[in-house]
């Protein structure tokens, strides 16, 4: 018994202190993962804020977008053009979603829209696999101007290896987050998007129809998904197994709250880093693979104390 307690509560920290380079390496990987989680979560937040839809398909949109780009490339389309085409496809998707799902389901309870995004998930999986096949694909990083290789830094009493693609991912993620923040705060459309979350009438007064706003939001979320998908893909491969990773963005949302951009970032980092640390230092105790659920457990633990998330608005129930 004592041994078990020791293994849980003491030993991991001894390990961390004993090999700081490994700790830093783990933290870095957690950080990069966290940034990407944050990016996926951001897609959710965008859509939730503007249309009140909890878009379960966000994860699959990421896979679908990346798959479209890579699939087109594999079919002989030059990479930059494939990227542009993929962006175009995401636009078409946004239009289709607005037409076929949002518009007919407007005024239905939120749960209905949530369920509809399940349907969307399935359709996207089916279509993606039907057209591009189910086998994993490699992202043409070079053609997209993404770096390869790693910087090896000798520090913390050992070797810390920073993959260049990870650095690029972290940078791009940061840039996108910043860009979105600026977009929301400073631009007219961005303000309209924020307004629409609170009051549909207010949005109309800005001169943009609700339907246009939905298209814009879904398109933006699609572009974010594309970027995220390429990053993840570049780190591993593009395949539908990425979808499970996308699901990890959900605990991020719980943590950060559905409506908060900073929440998505902080939540992403907490989950990303917590998960890596947990898997690396505690995972072996129970046979490993705990990263499949650890993120949820962390989020759940937070949730029990703060049901509205870290940055969510305090819920005052009115009757």
């Amino acid at each position: 018994m004592m041994h078990l307690l020791y293994q849980i509560f003491i030993d991991p920290f001894v390990q961390m202190a004993g090999a700081p380079d490994l700790l830093v390496q783990t933290l870095w990987e957690g950080f990069v993962g966290g940034m990407l989680y944050a990016l996926i979560a951001l897609g959710f937040v965008l859509i939730f804020k503007a249309s009140g839809v909890f878009n379960f398909a966000q994860g699959i949109m990421m896979v679908f977008a990346a798959l479209t780009m890579v699939g087109l490339y594999e079919k002989g389309v030059p990479a930059p053009l494939a990227l542009l085409l993929a962006i175009g496809v995401m636009y078409l998707l946004a239009v289709a979603v607005e037409r076929l799902i949002l518009r007919p389901l407007v005024n239905q309870p939120d749960i209905m829209l949530f369920m509809a995004t399940f349907g969307l998930t399935y359709v996207l999986i089916g279509v993606g696999e039907l057209i591009f096949g189910g086998s994993p694909k490699e992202v043409p990083t070079a053609q997209l101007g993404l770096p390869k290789g790693a910087y090896d830094i000798h520090a913390f009493g050992g070797l810390v290896s920073l993959q260049k693609i990870d650095i690029a991912a972290a940078l791009i993620a940061s840039i996108m987050v910043a860009a979105l923040a600026v977009f929301f705060q400073k631009t007219r459309i961005g303000r309209a998007l924020r307004a629409v979350a609170d009051d549909h009438q207010a949005a109309l007064s800005v001169g943009i129809s609700l339907n246009q706003i939905w298209v814009i939001v879904w398109f933006t979320a699609g572009v974010v998904a594309l970027a995220t998908g390429i990053m993840w893909g570049a780190r591993s491969d593009v395949s539908f197994s990425l979808q499970v990773i996308a699901l990890k963005a959900l605990p991020v949302l719980i943590l950060g709250g559905f409506t908060s951009v900073p929440g998505a970032i902080v939540g992403g980092l907490i989950i990303g880093i917590g998960e890596k640390l947990g898997e690396f230092y505690w995972g072996p105790l129970v046979g490993g693979g705990i990263d499949s659920w650890l993120a949820y457990a962390i989020a759940l633990a937070f949730l029990l104390f703060k049901p509205e998330g870290l940055f969510g608005e305090k819920i005052i129930e009115r009757i």
Binding site: L100, A116, G119, Y122, V123, L130, I254, G288, A299, P307
Partner: protein
Amino acid sequence: MFYREVGQFKTNYAADQAIFPIRQDRIGLALILLVAFIVIPLFGGEFLIASVMIPFLVLALAAIGLNILVGYTGLISLGAAAFMGVGAYACYKLSTIFPEVNIVVWIVASGFVSAAVGVLFGLPSLRIKGFYLAIATLAAQFFLQWCFQRVPWLYNYNTSGAIEVPTHTLFGVPVTGASATPVTRYYVVLTIVVGMTWVAANLVHGRIGRNWMAVRDMDIAAQLMGIRLLPAKLLAFAVSSFYVGVAGALMVFMWLGAAEPEAFNINQSFILLFMVIIGGLGSLIGSFLGAALIHILPIIVRMVPDALGIPIGAATVEHLTFIITGAMIIFFLVVEPHGLARLWAIAKQKLRVWPFPY
């Protein structure tokens, strides 16, 4: 049109509160049971019984379980398959530890294990609501699935990592394993499903069902009427998990004969949720209809191209199934958000007031 309700008056509350107050419904139900218990075993082929009816019944039972939670109590769960897994593994362990006990007893008992686990994962439901709760149930899904993979004790340290069902007998007749005939397995499944459906109907039509629905429709008002949310929700989790767990045990023991942890993955959870949504939230009939549609659809997708002579790969069939399922969900949500059950209710209402339109 077939309903002739004139003269069907009730002289006491017991008759008026009956689950099937209309005589024609009772006759219809009796006919369905007659077909299920006699016609299908007598005239159904092995394919119909083993590949259509048994899976349909098992999935319907799971859908009823999930419907109790999602449809009747309004708590979304994305982890139903994991609870099927709990039932399956519990039954597996129980029957290997005590092989001499009747397997049907263990199938039912495994429901209790599932219910207990369900209550555990239902605890956060008091503080967490709506989408947050839906995501929280994913924790159950991933954690339990991880257990099935990583806890060797659960699968008796088999090298394959899968569980396989040995032969068990009931009154000397093999009911599980390779030597059990489909008809025997069908009867076991059918009896359990019919019995449990009856119990579910009793529950949802009584005080407990009303409390669940009150919590679902307006939890604040429910509280102010003295309904305590946590017990009501936990009971829903327990009953739901019980049903789903028994369905899981039936799935492995009566249908597949063996299972890997992947059988209980998140996709299976989604499929169950689809059955409930397409079938109709808050409807037992809907659970059956949804299960029938979602289970039978792929069979048809597979058979149609064959029948038309179009060669089509197994992978393509799967992709098409995905697309059709997804499109169908969207279609149903747009056209009839309350699912097949509502269509059935509308059709029934039309028949009752025929020739009037409403």
